[in-house]
Amino acid sequence: MSKKLVSMTINGKKVEEAVEPRTLLIHFLRENLNLTGAHIGCETSHCGACTVDIDGKSVKSCTHLAVQCEGADILTVEGLAKNGVLSAVQEGFHQEHGLQCGFCTPGMLVRSYRLLQENPNPTEAEIRAGISGNLCRCTGYQNIVKAVQYAAKKLQETAQA
């Protein structure tokens, strides 16, 4: 199968590679670029462990082809911290014990990041609906909700400062 050249920006860096059309974005990230933060938890697009941010939208990278990302601007969990400073959502998950085994965490973080960009002051119900595309087996979501609330508060304080 002939490969297609595709170029995109990932966490601010330009990337260009030749890929088979059938290469899933999740595999492109994990195998070609060694960005193993996003994970694979299912093959039916339910679990959300593969969630990344494409052109400002949360997307399940297991249900997206690398060739569809020509010119795209992609953010993964590896790109959340800036200059060694953790993002508000990362700080929130740590402070509120929003992770245990860590497998759902990258997808949760990238989704939570985008959720707060879309809705800076969500209610608990809006947070739960907002992360309903991300499954967790360890936390029961209760501390994840608190983590997102922590991050929302921090972002608002930072914005006001």
């Binding site: 088979e20 059938r22 290469t23 595999h27 994990r30 195998e31 060694n34 960005l35 193993t36 933060g37 996003a38 994970h39 694979i40 938890g41 299912c42 093959e43 039916t44 339910h46 679990c47 462990a49 993964t76 969990v77 590896e78 959340l80 911290a81 953790l86 990362q90 998950f93 740590h94 402070q95 014990h97 992770l99 245990q100 085994c101 860590g102 497998f103 759902c104 965490t105 990258p106 973080l109 947070i127 739960r128 609906a129 992360i131 309903s132 595309g133 991300n134 499954l135 967790c136 087996r137 360890c138 936390t139 029961g140 979501y141 209760q142 501390n143 994840i144 909700v145």
Partner: protein, 801 residues
């Protein structure tokens, strides 16, 4: 140096501190190291060809088309494993299981062949191209049918062997018959009983379904003759011993590494054919081999949980005092008995089924049987078969309460083992270490205003137009965890002790290694907290490592809530050895006798003289700089802890539900969980474990099910159907606690992470049945989907449509 005591304690962040987790940094930055993250040079990929049929003979396997696909290197079948005698392997339960189907397949999705290729994608293409011809055989799905006289024989390999690992087999599809207790005494209790209740209870087949599936990277180095395997395993040392036994490679040349693991919940205890094939392939090819299964493969072929068909009976006085318990179970183990139990217990710790109650006479029988389903079962977030046992007794007590028109909390109080009866010897021979059930129950009933809830329920029942049925569920469970004393608990002959090695360095920090392996339970933090308090070294300075068999002392792994009870004890004991040596060093440095010293948080000080002291930091340096005469240099210890007994954490759970009479949907209005796990190491981590366990319990009770049609096709084996609740469905959890330390544990700690799963499941059933109780319904089997509940509503004319 002379900061106030409180500050010095706080600085340690030791036992009891809700300190934030040390392991978080890598996970929140996407730098976890899970098995599928591992890439070794020259690595090949393995995929598995699986049977579409539940019971069939293999007529022919054609590898030709697969081998033509670019990138495909080899296709292996049972024929290729036969010369190595690896086409079958021993299970943890004394049975044998096929590694690759040998002339016949026994369950749908069974492994038939493996494909090795240069890339993941080529391996997937190769898998599709392998052609297998089958001749169908009659299928056995219902375990009761398996024992009929005319049932098809499933295990042709065992026809000659009517003596199984656990005694006589009375039928070709029989595995074992196991019993505990005193049958005569139990029967006597029933003969003249004033009240007898009996109920059939199904604990359906479910699956632990951690978010990360199973897999490994096996790497045989042909030059060194070493085998290294990264593996999703909850018991890396056991894997090492088994791999050595199977492969003939000396254990010292086998290295098993469990890196970061994305949830275990019992799914990652067993040794699966994929692991064996990857290891064999690596040895044959001399290259690393990676195998990672899909979710559908995980749900369909790795160890299921439960599938117990139980009948419970209670004999009681007319005032509700229980006199006897009898239980009969038919256990469906699927095609091979791959149950992960201590070897002497084919039904695990099921005989904890007398629960929190003082029952004078009891007996249980469990019969295991083969069917055409995937092999197992495992303990899904519980100690071995304890979910089943607790479900049984808690349901039966409710049934008895209903028969006598007694309140569910009153009947429990009447039958509780009293605080002064501990240590308590149950009718099944377990010695419960400690408990105070009454205090805990009263605490819960007060917290939720139980009387008020019952009044509200009565009012709703009196209103025929009420749109919902209200139910209150109550469970007062005792768990048995911390397997276990090596006299009675072993895995393949290895006693179920655990271990810890601690090495303090000259500048006062430490590295510690244990024989357990965290899959999210936070050992890197909680274990450091134990050592911090024992040795006065800040937990931030203590590096905890698990999972690499080359460096960690031998342990039996993490499952069945055994880490804190067994490894936690080993940690305390190892630390106390260091503590004892440190005291000698301090005495020498201060030129006093050891009797003149007392320990205070982070230092030894001379009694009566606050200014004469040596901190652990001072002592660490001295140990390497100039140890006192007669003492070796260095400051380290190792301890292997063989627990004298199990531990018995307990809990009181109460749920309030409202059932929509038109749709059958159940809304969990409130769930109050009080847990007593003895000494609490990190309350924040405990609460996290409780939330998680309750959520998994909610999933099991309300929707999880792996079912089969008459042809043995598995149903519901993807996340489209297998119920993993999202944040929207998951209720809000309220947690509470009491502390009743374990008298035999060095820290008084009991273990907690599985209690919420064990205890919550019957709580949901209890609440839902309670909603129907006024119509005479005594039990409704799980899962409590809206569909099944609506059918129940309709049956009793309670549906609003």
């Amino acid at each position: 140096m002379n900061a106030p005591l409180k500050d010095r304690e706080a600085a340690l962040m030791g036992m009891g501190d809700s300190r934030l987790r040390k392991e978080d940094a890598r996970f929140i930055q996407g730098k976890g190291n899970y098995v599928d993250d591992i890439k070794l040079p020259n690595m090949v990929y393995m995929d598995i060809v699986r049977s579409p049929l539940a019971h069939a003979r293999i007529k022919k396997i054609n590898k030709e088309e697969a081998l033509k696909i670019p990138g495909v290197l080899a296709v292996l079948t049972a024929e290729d494993l036969k010369p190595l005698k690896l086409h079958w392997m021993p299970t943890l339960a004394g049975d044998v299981a096929a590694v690759l189907a040998d002339e016949k397949v026994h369950f749908q999705m069974q492994e038939v062949a493996v494909v090795l290729a240069e890339t993941r994608y080529a391996a997937a293409d190769g898998k599709e191209a392998v052609q297998v011809e089958y001749e169908e055989l009659p299928v056995v799905i219902n375990p009761f049918d398996a024992l009929k006289d005319d049932a098809p024989i499933l295990r042709e390999d065992l026809i000659e062997k009517m003596e199984g690992a656990h005694g006589k087999r009375h039928h070709p599809n029989d595995i074992f018959t196991w019993e505990a207790g005193d049958a005569a005494a139990a029967d006597a209790a029933f003969v003249n009983a004033e009240v007898v209740v009996k109920e059939d209870l199904l604990y359906p087949r479910v699956h632990p379904c951690p978010l990360e599936t199973c897999g490994c990277v096996a790497s045989f180095d042909p030059i060194r003759g070493d085998l290294t395997t990264y593996i999703t395993s909850q018991a890396p040392h056991v894997v090492r011993t088994v791999v050595s036994m199977l492969s003939g490679i000396p254990e010292s040349k086998v290295r098993i590494i469990s890196p970061d693991i994305g949830g275990g919940f019992g799914n990652k205890v067993g040794i699966y054919p994929g692991y064996v094939c990857a290891i064999v392939s690596s040895i044959v090819l001399g290259r690393p081999v990676k195998w990672i299964e899909d979710r559908i493969e995980n749900l369909s072929s790795t160890a299921f949980a439960r599938d117990y068909h139980m009948t419970g009976e209670l004999a009681a006085t007319k005032d509700g005092k229980i006199q006897g318990l009898r239980v009969n179970v038919l256990a469906d183990h699927g095609a091979f008995d791959a149950c992960a139990d201590p070897s002497k217990f084919p039904a695990g710790m099921f005989h904890i089924c007398s629960g929190s109650y003082d029952i004078p006479a009891a007996h249980c029988t469990v019969r295991g049987v083969y069917t055409n389903k995937a092999p197992g079962g495992v303990a899904y977030r519980c100690s071995f078969r304890v979910t089943e046992a607790v479900y049984l007794i808690e349901r039966m007590v409710d049934v008895l309460a209903q028969k006598l028109n007694m309140d569910k909390s009153e009947i429990r109080k009447k039958n509780f083992i009293r605080k002064d009866q501990f240590p308590y010897k149950s009718a099944f021979g377990f010695e419960y270490d400690s408990g105070d059930y009454l205090t805990a129950l009263d605490q819960v009933l007060d917290a939720v205003d139980y009387k008020g809830l019952r009044a509200e329920q009565a009012a709703k029942r009196a209103d025929p137009n009420s749109k919902s049925l209200m139910g209150i569920g109550l469970v007062t469970f005792t768990e048995i965890v911390g397997a276990g004393p090596s006299k009675i608990c072993d895995i393949l002959g290895i006693g179920m002790f655990d271990s810890c090695e601690i090495r303090v360095d000259p500048t006062g920090s430490a590295i510690a290694r244990m024989g357990t392996i965290s899959q999210g339970q936070g050992h890197q933090t909680t274990y450091a907290q134990i050592i911090a308090t024992e040795l006065g070294i800040a937990s931030d300075l203590i590096k905890v490592e698990e999972g690499d068999t080359d460096t960690a002392p031998y342990g039996l792994g993490t499952y069945g809530s055994r880490s804190t009870p067994v490894a936690g004890a080993a940690i305390a004991m190892a630390a106390r050895k260091i503590h004892a040596k440190a005291k000698k060093i301090a005495a020498s440095l201060l030129e006093v006798s050891e009797n003149d010293l007392e320990w205070e948080v982070d230092r030894f000080k001379v009694r009566g003289n606050d200014d004469k002291f040596k901190t652990m930091k001072d002592i660490s340096w001295a140990a390497y700089h100039q140890p006192p005469d007669g003492l070796e240099p260095g400051l380290e210890a190792v301890h292997y802890y063989d627990p004298p007994n199990f531990t018995f954490p307990f809990g009181i759970y109460l749920a309030v539900v409202d059932i929509d009479r038109a749709t059958g949907e159940t809304k969990v209005r409130r769930f109050y969980a009080l847990d007593d796990c003895g000494t609490r190491i990190n309350p924040m981590i405990i609460d996290g474990q409780i939330h998680g366990g309750l959520t998994e319990g909610f999933a099991v009770a309300m929707g999880q099910l792996l079912s089969f049609d008459a042809q043995g096709n598995i149903q519901g084996n993807s996340l489209m159907d297998y119920f993993l609740p999202t944040a929207v469905e998951t209720p809000h959890w309220e947690t509470d606690y009491t502390v009743t330390p374990s008298p035999h544990h060095p820290l008084g700690a009991k273990g907690v992470a599985e209690s919420p799963h064990v205890g919550s499941i019957p709580t949901f059933t209890s609440a839902i049945v309670d909603a129907f109780a006024h119509t005479g319904v005594t039990h409704i089997d799980m899962p409590h989907t809206s569909f099944r509940i609506w059918k129940e509503l309709k049956k009793h004319g309670l549906n609003l449509n």
